[in-house]
């Protein structure tokens, strides 16, 4: 029994689809989430990620497909009957209840005896560092504090899956960064399964141990943050996750041509994309023999704090973005307007089918 539940995924979606009228929000998709995973559903707005989260939480019924949690079919159950809890984007705190009452609400509905309830609420308030706020009303709290209350209110229910809808979107940058670390720690501490919706690729990569990139109602790639970043499966993922240079090439009988470089690539003839991360490109004055290189002119150098962003207008008409560390740049700066070779190794670039 125990070994069986270890191997079946905690959450399994099969063939989930959803349309609103004629608009397709989700094309049939599958997703498995293992116990203890922190999954980020990442995508631009309108890609269906929130719809998917709401289907998992039971707020929306999918048109087709099955939702299984812990091996049980919950497709037809509403959110009140699912072992999931959600932290809403606007937090959804009850304005007429104090922090303590907000957090105790679910347990009270579940008729947990007062003594046990108070203990559980006390513990979770402690854990979220909001014990001192327990008698305040939500309107007397800052955004970050409200966020903690919303988390506490969901976590006190000990959900099998915790759903987070853009959990950090409403916070300012500093708070977002510290809350991100805190969410990671929280996940590690309680060992739960989290699913988080975000449009911020930095957040997805920084928070999750698995990322599902979504576009136009489909999951276009799923994998670890490293996979997604280093081995994007198509041009959309490459463009959406991290900064990248994407060059359009034509493949003909097994090789692509970029200026005077010939890059072998198997696949059907047609247009493909070449993706190179800005930190994989170096700028040199002498054309390197073994590498792929484009001749061009440095048009701008933008100081970004921890790195310098260089813009190169290449001979092919493409614009390349190149990153250099601050130290490197200070020891060896280049003048704007200088003619250089932008070069990168074969391993650093990926040929992607146009999605």
């Amino acid at each position: 029994m125990l070994s069986a539940s270890e191997h079946t995924p905690l959450l399994r979606l099969t063939g989930i689809s959803k349309s609103f009228g004629t608009q397709v929000a989700l094309h049939p998709l599958d997703l498995s989430v293992a116990r203890g995973d922190f999954v980020a559903l990442l995508g631009p707005s309108g890609c269906g990620k929130t719809t998917l989260l709401r289907v998992i939480g039971g707020f929306l019924r999918s048109d087709q497909g099955r939702v299984e949690i812990n091996g049980a079919d919950v497709t037809d159950l509403g959110p009140e009957q699912r072992p999931t809890n959600m932290v809403f984007q606007g937090y959804g705190l009850f304005p007429h209840m104090t922090v303590r009452e907000n957090v105790a609400y679910g347990l009270k509905i579940a008729r947990v005896p007062a003594e046990k309830r108070n203990q559980a609420v006390g513990e979770i308030l402690e854990m979220m560092h909001i014990s001192g706020l327990s008698d305040r009303l939500p309107r007397a709290l800052s955004g970050g504090q409200q966020q903690r209350v919303a988390l506490a209110r969901a976590l006190v229910m000990k959900p099998s899956v915790l759903l987070l809808d853009e959990p950090l979107a409403a916070l300012d940058l500093q708070l977002r960064k510290s809350m991100q670390i805190e969410l990671r720690n929280l996940h590690r501490e309680i060992g739960g399964t989290f699913i988080c919706v975000t449009h911020d690729q930095g957040e997805a990569i920084g928070l999750a141990n698995r990322v599902a990139v979504m576009n136009a109602g489909r999951i276009v790639q799923e994998g670890t943050p490293e996979d997604i970043y280093q081995r994007p499966s198509n041009a959309f993922v490459a463009g959406f996750v991290g900064e990248s240079n994407i060059l359009s090439l034509t493949r003909q009988s097994g090789s692509c041509r970029l200026a005077d470089n010939i890059i072998p690539s198997s696949g059907p003839d047609g247009t493909v994309a070449m993706m190179i991360r800005p930190d994989d490109i170096s700028l040199v004055e002498v054309k390197p023999a073994a590498e792929i290189s484009l001749y061009g002119q440095l048009t701008d150098a933008v100081f970004m704090g921890d790195h310098v962003k260089l813009i190169v207008a290449a001979e092919t008409g493409d614009t390349l973005t190149v990153h250099r560390s601050r130290q490197e740049w200070q020891s060896d700066p280049l003048e704007s307007g200088k003619r250089v070779f932008a070069s990168w190794s074969r391993d650093a670039c990926h040929i992607l089918e146009q999605s």
């Binding site: 009140e80 809403f88 959804g92 304005p95």
Partner: protein, 257 residues
Amino acid sequence: MTLRAACWLTFGILSAAFLVAPLALVVAFSFGENPHATLPFGNPTLQWYRELFAGDDFLAALQNSAIVTSCVGLLSAVLGTAAAFGFTALDRKLSRLGAQLISLPVMLPPLVLALALATAFSATRIPLGLGTVIPSHLIFTQPFVILIIYARLTAFDRSLIDSARDLGASSLQIFFTITLPLIAPSLIGATLLSMAISLDDFVITFFTIGGGMTLPTLIWGMLRTHLDPTINALGTLVLVLTLGLSVIAFKLTRYKG
């Protein structure tokens, strides 16, 4: 101050005085000794209030008004809330049409509405009395409650209901623990407003009550038989009650929880 502004100010003060003067006179006469309700007022006295409260007619009318007002308040609150919830479930176009339909009785001249009701009751042989006054009042107090609650519900944060569902609450539990406490100020305000309108109504009551009296119809009766300052005392009482209810009502409905 320019001449123009001065003219407007004078006009404003005169208009206000014109509107308030009769009310002020009624109140003033009710506390004056002069039995003909003419100037001068005479010495201040509570004599007319004492006489008013000594009369059986007044107590009966007060009782009837109390019954009608509280029933109308309670029923408006319950039915109005139910109807407002119904409207929020409809799509925008339908709910707008519904709101217009339900507001029709308010736009009709009260006399026409009263005649229509009286005709309907006599045609269906329903005996007139408080049992006909209450539903008749509901017809024109209801729209206010529905519109106020509907406005509150459309501004209601849906994520609160989603949160409560997510935490395991049933629809009924959500209504009593989340929705009702949050719309309570609007609901109480709307109820008091409907009570003020009901308490104050003469025309509809007159046509649908048959033999009995409420405070406004009592005033009418007294006017026909004898003109003495007890009428002013009664008028003042009705004025204070309706104004009081309305003031509380407006305060509450404007409260943003």
